[in-house]
Subunit: 264 residues, 4 copies
C-alpha cells in the first residue's frame, strides 16, 4: 500500500478540499478500487470501500455518498473511527448511512487497513440458506478464516431495513466478523477486510467468484472436495502477495477509464 | 420527480412536436429510464416505460412503439388514461399495442406515477412455476407488498398471444395488481409500478435481481430465510429514498451515452 | 423483407463481385443478421445464416466461410440449392462445409426464406437430455410447431464429427425439421427457419432465450405452465409481425458498428 | 502456426530485447492468445499461455509475470525447458511462479507446441466434484482423449497453496496429463495443450464452454447423451483444422484492440 509520496492531487488541490493533506496515491487506490469492483459486478450502485489513513490509524478515507462506479478523487473524505467528518470543510456532504461498518471494524481490528461492503450478487443467496460458503478455489483461501453470518434480527429485532445504521450495529457486526476476512450479512451482502486495499478488493472479488463456483459445485452434486484448513491458510498467505498482479492491472485500467471520462 | 422547470427541450422545440409543452426534465427521465433498463438487461427490444404527467394526472408520457434502447426525447408522446393520443400532431404515430397496461393502472392507482412493463428474463420462469417470488434482498423489500400472478387464460381464454391488447385486459391486470408494486404476467414478464419514475425503474431492476438470487437460493437448497413482512415494509420505505443514488448514476450515464450517439 | 431497390452496393460494385447483381438491402440484412446473432451470443465463431434470393427461389445468399461477427457485404456469395457456387467469379472461395443445411431446407420448404444454423449455447444441453424444449415465453411460441431432434447417429452411424457435410445429411436434417421452425442437432446446436430473414433471426434468438428460461424453470421445479398449443400458434403468428421491432434496432446497430469498424 | 518470416517486431527491435531474435508472427500469436482468452473469460488476472519455439524445441515463449489481458510483444520472454531464462538480457524480470507447468509438459510431450494454464471458471467446480467432464459438444471432442484430475494432495501433501511451484510438481502434473489434451487441477483450474497455439487456445475456450453446457445438462437431468469415443476422436481431428476460423477472428480482433490501446 503506497504511502510515501505526498504530492498534491492536482484536481483536489484546485478545489482546496481535504485532499491537499491526503496522499495522492492512496486516494487513487481508493478511486480505482471503487471503479474496479463496480466493473467486476461485485458492487452495484450501492456498497462502499474505505482505507485506513496510513498517517493516522484513527482516521479512514471513504467516498461521500455516491455510487461506487462514479467515485473520483474529489469525492474522497476523511472520517474518524466514530465515522464523523474530520475536516470542517467537508461538513454538509452526504455520508454513507452505513459508514459505521467501516469505523467499527477499524476499531476492533488493528490489523485491518481496508474494508469493502457490497451486495455481492452470488454471496447474497448464501446469506439466506444453510450451506456454508467454504473455500474451494485457491484464490479464496481466506474464506478458511471463517465466514460468520450476521443476522440483524438477533441484534435489532424484526422490522429493520437490514442496514447498519448505528454505531451499535456496526460494533455488533465487527464483533461477529471476529478474526475472519469476511462477514456475511443476511439478505444484504457482505463486508470484507484486508491488511491493504489491494488485498481487500482482491478478497471481495474472489468471495463472489468462490460463491459462483460453489453454486455450480452444488448443482453438479456432492461430496465437494473443499480446501482443507491447512491449504486455506497457506493460500490465504500466498494471495497476500499474489494480489499485486490483478491489482496492477485493475488500478491502471480504472484510472485510464477515469481519465477518458474526464476528458470525453 | 422533477416537475418544476418548463424550459423547452431544444430538439423537440425544433421539431415542433408535443414536446414544447412537456417538461424537459421529465422527458429526459423517461428516456434515461428506457435506456437504463435496456442496458441492465431488464428490457429487451420489447417492453415500455411510462410516467404520469405531473401537470395533469389524466395523461401519461410514453415512447412511440420502438425498442427501449433506442428511445430519444423526440419519440415521447402524451396519451390519456384510455391510452389514446392527446395531441393531434401525434396522430398516425405507431403506439405500443399493450399501452393499456399503463393507462388502466394509472386509473386504478392514483398513488402510482410510473409503470414499467418488461420481459424481465429471470422473472419469467417464476411466472410459470409455483415458487413464490418472495423478497430475500433488502433492496427488493417492495415484493413484500405481494406479487400476484396474472393468468391471462382466466380472462381471455386459451389461445391468446398472452398480450394485453385491450382496455378490458388492462383493467383486469390492474385489478390483479391490487395494491402491490409488481404483477407477474404468465409466460410474458411483469409490470412494476412506483410513486416516481426513479423508484419504478429501481423496482423493475431489483425484481430481476431478487429473482436471480432466489433462483440461486433454490439451487443451494432451503429452507430460505426470506425477509419478514415487517422487514419488507421497512425496506420498501427506505428504498423510496435510497433509489436516488442509483438513479443519479443511471440517468447521467444514459444521457451521456445518448449525447455521444447523437454526435457520433 | 425488402426486395425492391436494385441499387448497387458501393463497396461490392468496386470489387466487381457478384454483388452488382445482388440486392443491396438484402445483403445488408444478411450482414446485419450475422453480426446481431454474434453480438447476442447465439452464434459463436461458427454458425451461418442464409437468405433465399427473392429474384430466384432456386438460389440463396450466404457468407463465404468466415466467423459471423466479421461478415461484410463483400463476403456474401450466391449458391444454388445444391449449395454450389452460381457465379464463376466466386470459384475458389472457401465455402461453409455445412452449407447443405441451407440448400436442402430451401428445397424441402418453399415457405422458408431464411435459415440460421448455430451452436446456440443453452440449446445444446437440450439436445443431449430428454427434456422437451417447449415454449413458455410468448416470443417463442413458434416452438409450439414442434422441436424435433436430429440424432446424426441414426443417419451416419457412430463416429462422425456430428457435422452435416453431405447433401444426403442435409436432406435428412430437412426431413427431420418437417414443418417445424426449429430442428435440434444432438451435441451440436440447432437450425432455425422463417419466412423472412428478420423472423429467422428473431426465432434463433428467442429459441436461446426460451431455453435459458426453461432451464431456470426446471431449477425452480415443476410443474411448468407451458403455453398451450393454441397460445403457441397465436403467438407465433403475432411474432411474425412483432419481429420488426427488434429487427429495426438490431439492423441499425449492426450496420452502424460495421461502418465504425470500416472507418476506424 | 506461422514460423517462416523472421522480420523484426518494430517495437521490440527498438527496445533491443530478446525480440529481435523471436519470430514476429509467433510473438503476435502469443499476445493475441493471451488477450483473447482474457476477453472470453477463460483467463482471469492470473493464468498464462506459452508456445514452443519452432526454431528450437528446447525453448518456449511466455510472457513475464503480468495479467494476460495486458500482455504486449515487449513482455514476451524465452525460457528453456527447465523454465529458466535463455537470454541474459531478460535476467531480473519477474517470471510466472508456475512456469514449470509449461516446461515440464514440453519435456514430456514432444507433440505439444502450446500450453494454456487457467482458472477457467466453470471448469473449477468439476475439479472438486465427482462428475466427469465428458464431451457433449462436438467442438470439445478433444475431451474424449481423457480428462485426468491432478490432486496436489497426493503429490505435495496437505497444506500447499495448490500451486505448481517446483519442477517436481510440474513433472507430476505432466505425467498425470498423459496423452490427454486437458488436465484438471483440483481447486485451481486446468492446463490445456495442443499441437499449435491456435488449437490450444481453441481447446481452452471449448473446455469452458463444454463445462457450462454440461452443468446445464446436469440441471436439466440425465441420462446425458455424451459423444461416443469414436465421435470424440473424429471431432477432435476435425477441430484441429476448424480452429483456424475462430483464430483468424480472435487474432485480428485482439491485435486491433492492442493497437488502439497503444495509440489511445
Amino acid at each position: 500500500m503506497p504511502a510515501k509520496a505526498v504530492s498534491l492531487h492536482p484536481s483536489a488541490a484546485r478545489r482546496g478540499g481535504t485532499h491537499d493533506v491526503l496522499d495522492r496515491e492512496l486516494v487513487d487506490d481508493l478511486v480505482a478500487g471503487n471503479r474496479t469492483l463496480a466493473r467486476l459486478g461485485v458492487l452495484d450502485a450501492f456498497g462502499h470501500i474505505s482505507v485506513r489513513d496510513p498517517r493516522n490509524p484513527h482516521h479512514y478515507l471513504i467516498s461521500r455518498s455516491i455510487a461506487p462506479e462514479s467515485v473520483t478523487a474529489a469525492d474522497i473524505l476523511l472520517l474518524d473511527l466514530d465515522s464523523q467528518i474530520v475536516d470542517p470543510k467537508d461538513e454538509g456532504k452526504l455520508l454513507y448511512r452505513e459508514r459505521f461498518i467501516h469505523g467499527e471494524i477499524y476499531k476492533a481490528r488493528p490489523d485491518v487497513n481496508a474494508v469493502v461492503h457490497s451486495h455481492s450478487p452470488t454471496v447474497v443467496p448464501f446469506t439466506v440458506t444453510r450451506a456454508k460458503l467454504r473455500p474451494l478455489l485457491h484464490n479464496a483461501g481466506f474464506l478458511g478464516l471463517g465466514v460468520p453470518l450476521f443476522e440483524i434480527r438477533n441484534h435489532a429485532g424484526d422490522g429493520t431495513d437490514l442496514m447498519i445504521l448505528t454505531p451499535r450495529l456496526g460494533k455488533d457486526l465487527a464483533q461477529k466478523l471476529g478474526k475472519a476476512a469476511v462477514v456475511l450479512m443476511r439478505g444484504h451482502g457482505d463486508s470484507v477486510v484486508g491488511p491493504s486495499l489491494p488485498n481487500a478488493v482482491f478478497r471481495a472479488y474472489y468471495t463472489e467468484i468462490n460463491a459462483r463456483q460453489l453454486l455450480a459445485a452444488i448443482t453438479i452434486g456432492g461430496p465437494i472436495n473443499f480446501m482443507t484448513r491447512a491449504e486455506a491458510l497457506t493460500s490465504s498467505d500466498a494471495m497476500l502477495r499474489a494480489s499485486a498482479r490483478p491489482w496492477t492491472l485493475w488500478r491502471k485500467r480504472a484510472l485510464a477509464e477515469l481519465r477518458e471520462e474526464e476528458q470525453g
